[in-house]
Symmetry: C2
Subunit: 382 residues, 2 copies
Amino acid sequence: MNSITLLQPGKIVFGEGSLKELSNDTILEGSNSILLLVATPLLQAVEEIVKSLKSKNKQVQLVEYKFLGEPTFSQFNILLNENQGFNPDCVIGIGGGSVLDCAKLLAALINNSQKLEDVVGIGLLNGCSIKLICIPTTSGTGSEVSPNAILLNEDTQAKSGIISPYLVPDACYLDPVLTVSLPSKLTAETGIDALSHCIEAYTNKFAHPTVDVYALKGIQLIAENIQEACENGSNIEARSALLLGSMYGGLCLGPVNTSAVHALSYGLGGKFHVPHGLSNAILMPEVLRFNLSANPKRHADVARALGITLEGSDEEIALAGIEKIEAISKACNIPQRLIEIGVTEDVLPELADIAMKVTRLLKNNPREVTREDAIGIYKRLL
Amino acid sequence: MNSITLLQPGKIVFGEGSLKELSNDTILEGSNSILLLVATPLLQAVEEIVKSLKSKNKQVQLVEYKFLGEPTFSQFNILLNENQGFNPDCVIGIGGGSVLDCAKLLAALINNSQKLEDVVGIGLLNGCSIKLICIPTTSGTGSEVSPNAILLNEDTQAKSGIISPYLVPDACYLDPVLTVSLPSKLTAETGIDALSHCIEAYTNKFAHPTVDVYALKGIQLIAENIQEACENGSNIEARSALLLGSMYGGLCLGPVNTSAVHALSYGLGGKFHVPHGLSNAILMPEVLRFNLSANPKRHADVARALGITLEGSDEEIALAGIEKIEAISKACNIPQRLIEIGVTEDVLPELADIAMKVTRLLKNNPREVTREDAIGIYKRLL
């Protein structure tokens, strides 16, 4: 069995209403100054927490996260400069993936001689002494448990990953109540993104038994609950399952990570500003069809976790699984073709060029993807 | 879905030879004085680590753990008094469950105004500021990831649990090489103990989906590998799988914990000094037969994880699973009857009295166990 290092928050609090327990967390006992980075729709939900923390004589800086779309380098640097002076000993992020990624980087870079530009890449952060708690309000990125933060570099129009053990939060709170108000469209796109984390980890060249456990459970939870969560957003059981599934997807990101779906998605996000989950959702079935031959057994396992009970060869079962993903995606009203999101044939070579540069993910893919393969995959999705 | 808090080391390093990486762990970067509590057979294996840590200008106190059997209150207090003066900022335990439990308590109680006697029970520790790394050399207790430490109270002849979030290590290293020299008998007994952690968590009244994941994987890994590890101790794949299975058992202990097998085992350990794993191994099949009717579905799931492929009712499948546990246990040369370990009918009422006091575990059992039930279970095992 290959060696592996699993990093994750030492504390994962899960449950309906668990946000209420945050201000009593033992992690905050030693903190005197707490920075809360909060997505606008959550400002009201944190009022009680702020009050409770202040009543314990803690300094609290409440920062509203107002940016739309994927966060950029300059947006993050604005946040950093505005809050550098507060000197927190704990950062709490409450919001979707963008908010959590910025909270993680704030904890790492406030009062650090390293700049954002110094730490883009893998393992470049020197350390992080500020405590970090992440609280997701979407079931998608799994950022609350992962060592990753992703920002958009405006100069290159490419998404850039900052990957470091120091970006794994100390704790996360998974409160499904916070995800209830997420619109159906976002529930669908972020949910399929989480599904892709699990599937790309399980079919990964560097798959590992300790991560397979998370991947298969995540696939099952998401497949069983995403449509219900989209159609009936207040179904707390479906929201709970989706939030857990997303966390399992996040636990796949550190030690194994994603592969070609995410690599081919980079240009769509950076160049066309297609939401991350949506581009992954469109790409996933076709990339899986391309990958299938490299490991039919693992693709059949994915299909079974998706709920396929068909008897047959691994290939047949795996293909039924891919069709199930397409069916789920359609049922959640996700566009199926690139043309529907404004991508035309003439830009495919440029998209492929961007994808080819994401070697840190392409190296994980079970089958080698050439530039021509990438163009072919995009073309079949037009 | 019920609420749950999952606590575990933020860092789990797994792999053949991973012990070699210990001295470069980032957790040790901030440490200046490190106490290593090491089981006698491992003293040679840590020589390089001690040398490497000293070369980094760290003070190292190497303490040999010499006690045999389950550690007692007074043995622990000897360790505490002898090392109180060293004032470490990090404790590393390397050994079986007894060594790890003592290392965990040393980290918690050195330079703490609380005494051992103050913290026996659940959640009584006020805090722990000393870093803690645990490195198991048996595949059994799962102490390296759990919030538990168990000592024997000589006055009452009862095993006493110290349970606290502060006893969860910051990191653990799972190096299967360290388990290769473990004799077949100990491999068998500790392995079945780990299996019982998984099974008692999965069939638990407070079972939870997030813990089921660990329990089922642990059952599968242990069932598939324990006999091979006993018969061919140097098979590193079998040792690796068993070590992972044991870790999964440990991850079940915090949030869900064990039930009647462990409760009925307490008297055998405290009064008769029967090794913990052995007493659990003898008791498990009969307790599962007693429990089966309370949740046939879950007991059938356990059987499937054990490798049972039989078609039939949940009861039939579950019973085949229990027979499989007995077959594994016999194949590993574990005694099957209480009489073989010197327990006679006249002491059964006293054993039952001790078991009835372990309410913190009995409350988890899927079926209520009365004193008469307990005596009946013991009697059927004579």
